[in-house]
């Protein structure tokens, strides 16, 4: 009797769970999985929306191999990963800072989070002004005496990509800070207190207790931000246009794919580039999960 009730209950719960999952799955199927599956074969065609579509076999892959712009874009996208450690380290430090029970700490949490909810397009336009020759950044640096002549942050090929990274870091910090903050609040206070009692300094506690316990969060955040960095699009597109100006210095794979598809109407080739980039991200993700498995997804075991 009791057993029957349990299975009954379990059945109901199962049905309920699936019912709750269904709408989400349908949306994903229609708007995510269907386009992905539909997009795969495009990589082997010359699809251009309007003209007749022909199967071209590996032609797009051969073209990609010989395409200097693709390699340039890939190189820039990989270079973009530099901003990942910067974001993560700053985000952890910020999370530790706002994890204090200070008065007004809520204000800082909100303030740090505001860039995340700001529209990237609006933010990128504002940053464009900051980086201008007569922009705020040059003004401040000149006032501080760091530079004598204004620097054209957006026009110098060696600097432009880093200028874009600055925007990505600024925009992403709050998001990762929030995740780390949640992580920090799940770290048992006893451990930290015990370390303090044992005479560890504040930094020592952060370094030896907090950060190791944050490891699962660091893993997730790192993977997410590496994926984000390789796929970066909005800030580059808004600040430097579809060709990754100046002279391709900020051309990244996301923008290059867009240009191929929506400016050259070369959807087939664009799909090829997109496919290869997503494969690379996938391989990276699988590898990083593998390597980090021993690190432990849960520190209570």
């Amino acid at each position: 009797m009791a057993k029957a009730t349990i299975t009954n209950l379990r059945k109901k719960r199962l049905i309920f769970s699936y019912a709750m999952l269904t709408p989400g799955i349908i949306v994903l199927l229609v708007f995510t999985f269907y386009p992905i599956v539909y997009g795969l074969p495009l990589a082997f065609t010359n699809y251009s929306v309007i003209e007749d579509t022909k199967w071209v076999g590996m032609a797009n892959f051969n073209r990609m191999y010989a395409d200097p712009d693709f390699w340039l874009a890939l190189q820039n996208s990989l270079l973009y990963v530099i901003c990942v450690p910067v974001i993560q380290i700053l985000a952890i430090l910020m999370a530790v800072l706002v994890n204090n029970k200070l008065r007004g700490v809520h204000f800082f949490r909100v303030a740090y989070f505001i860039p995340v909810v700001t529209s990237m397009v609006a933010a990128a336009i504002a940053w464009k002004w900051v980086y201008e020759e007569k922009g705020v950044l040059n003004y401040i640096l000149q006032a501080l005496g760091v530079i004598k002549e204004p620097v054209s942050w957006m026009a110098l090929p060696g600097i432009a990509l880093f200028a874009a990274m600055g925007v990505t870091v600024w925009k992403g910090l709050g998001y990762y800070m929030m995740i780390y903050l949640a992580g920090l609040q799940s770290v048992p206070v006893e451990l930290q207190e015990a370390a303090r009692i044992d005479g560890a300094s504040r930094w020592r506690v952060i370094w030896s207790i907090t950060i190791p316990l944050l490891q699962p969060f660091i893993l997730v955040c790192t993977i997410m931000s590496v994926m984000g960095a390789v796929r970066v699009f909005d800030e580059i597109f808004v600040m430097f246009g579809p060709k990754g100006d100046p002279a391709g210095a900020t051309l990244v794979t996301g923008v290059y794919t867009y240009k191929l598809a929506f400016i050259d109407f070369n959807f087939g080739y664009a799909a090829t580039v997109g496919l290869i980039v997503s494969l690379m991200i996938m391989i990276f993700t699988i590898l990083s999960f593998r390597f980090n498995r021993r690190g432990g997804m849960s520190y209570y075991e």
Binding site: A19, K134, A155, K243, A247, F262
Partner: protein
């Protein structure tokens, strides 16, 4: 209580599911084509709303009154999203019927047989009202893919205040590029501001300077000429000298407009139709503006006019009505009225003859600009290569031009490399057929 809650959620989930399925199903059903009776024409324009709502709606009303069976549904899109939106509608079998495109976009779609050939489907009479040179901008072979609409010609705007602060006379505007440079040097020295921001458009700049770009047969690229080299070197020197901002390498018209409106540059070249933007955004700068003809470029006085066209996509289900409206919105009457609302030039012969364009003696910048540009209409051209995938060919020139400015290649190397790569691309495109 809990039970009821769950039931409600279940019902909601199921109904959501059903509605999604229903939505998927309905989009698959095809509409019946060529139904007699009332027809709705979808008309898409670029960046006309809300500034010209009154004008466009009045024209639509007039057309609808004369053709009670036709309803016009007007949609305005920003410049940047037109191509995208149009492509996805065509792919989704929901093509608009009459679309406003610039020449480059029109040719790109014409390449792909997405536009109605007006030489075949429009009447001789309909085609006869336009200037031939403009009608031919969107021509490939014997086909004409667009009715020309409005265009603007460039004028030079000077900020009187900055000019005077630099000890220059704004009533003696620079008439050549060499003078532009001389003035810019003086302005930089005296006021610390930039004289102007060059907005590079290598294909057009070179073409106006007598570089053919492509031969008559459309088989050979010609960009490596002495004229081209001279212009390239001149620009490289100008850029290196710091007389113009380094940012000009990525500057577009929007950037220059911002700077001019902000009173940060002494002069800039803009389409006469955009002067009202300055008037609206920065009245105090507009009031200090003196308008002059643009510095001369070509020996035969040719000037570049960015042309807006109206096309009918092949996928439209009502070609006849669409062409009727496309012609109506670009006819003499419509264009003349439009020109009275904003500083554009009409592409039709009769409208251009109207005394409105040449009369008057006010010093209002917009009026001066209209009188200046009205004298140049017979010299206006819109540059196109007239071959498939023109953008992909010209891209090399754009790219190497910038690399030259950045010092990654010399002007000589730039032209040589551009010519070689553009030729290779052209050969590839011709081989594809």
């Amino acid at each position: 209580m809990k039970r009821i809650g769950r039931m409600t959620v279940m019902v909601l989930a199921v109904s959501l599911l059903l509605s999604i399925l229903a939505a998927c199903g309905s989009s698959g059903t095809k509409q019946v084509e060529d139904t007699p009776g009332p027809v709705t024409i979808n008309f898409w324009t670029i960046s006309l709303s809300p500034t010209f709502d009154d004008y466009v709606n009045a024209r639509i009303k007039k057309f609808e009154d004369a053709n009670p069976d036709i309803t016009i549904k007007w949609t305005d899109l920003p410049y940047g999203s037109m191509e995208n939106k149009l492509l996805s509608s065509i792919a989704g079998n929901q093509s608009p019927d009459v679309v406003n495109l610039n020449t480059a976009m029109a040719l790109k779609l014409a390449d792909k047989n997405a536009l109605v050939d007006l030489n075949k489907e429009a009447t001789e009479e309909q085609l006869s009202i336009y200037f031939e040179s403009l009608l031919h901008s969107a021509r490939i072979g014997d086909s004409i893919y667009a009715f020309p609409w409005y265009y603007g010609l460039g004028v030079l705007s000077l900020n009187k205040e900055i000019y005077e602060a630099a000890g220059l006379d704004p009533n003696q505007p620079p008439s050549t590029w060499e003078e532009m440079k001389e003035h810019a040097v003086i302005i930089k020295e005296k006021t610390g501001k930039y004289g102007f921001v060059p907005i590079y458009n290598p294909p057009i700049d070179l073409f106006l300077r007598g570089v053919p770009i492509i031969n008559e047969d459309k088989t050979q690229i010609i960009v490596n000429t002495p004229e081209a080299l001279e212009w390239a070197k001149w620009n490289k020197d100008l850029y290196d000298s710091g007389v113009v901002p380094k940012e000009s390498i990525t500057a577009d018209a929007g950037y220059a407009t911002d700077k001019y409106q902000g009173g940060q540059i002494a002069s800039f070249i803009t389409g006469s139709q955009f002067l009202n933007r300055i008037k609206n955004n920065a009245k105090e700068v507009y009031d200090k503006t003196v308008v002059a003809p643009i510095p001369t470029v070509s020996k035969d006085g040719k000037v570049h006019g960015g042309l807006m066209n109206v096309v009918v996509p092949t996928m439209s289900k009502h070609h006849e009505e669409a062409i009727l409206f496309a012609h109506f919105i670009t006819n003499d009457e419509s264009q003349l009225e439009f020109a009275k609302v904003v500083n554009i030039l009409p592409s039709t012969k009769e409208a251009a003859k109207d005394p409105f364009f040449t009369e008057g003696d006010s010093n209002e910048p917009e009026d001066v600009a209209r009188r200046i540009t009205a004298t140049q209409t017979d010299k206006a051209i819109d540059f196109t290569l007239g071959v498939n995938k023109e953008g992909e060919i010209l891209e090399f020139l754009w790219k190497y031009w910038k690399e030259m400015l950045l010092g990654r290649m010399t002007p000589e190397e730039m032209l040589k490399k551009a010519e070689a790569d553009m030729q290779a691309k052209l050969d590839e495109i011709l081989a594809e057929g």
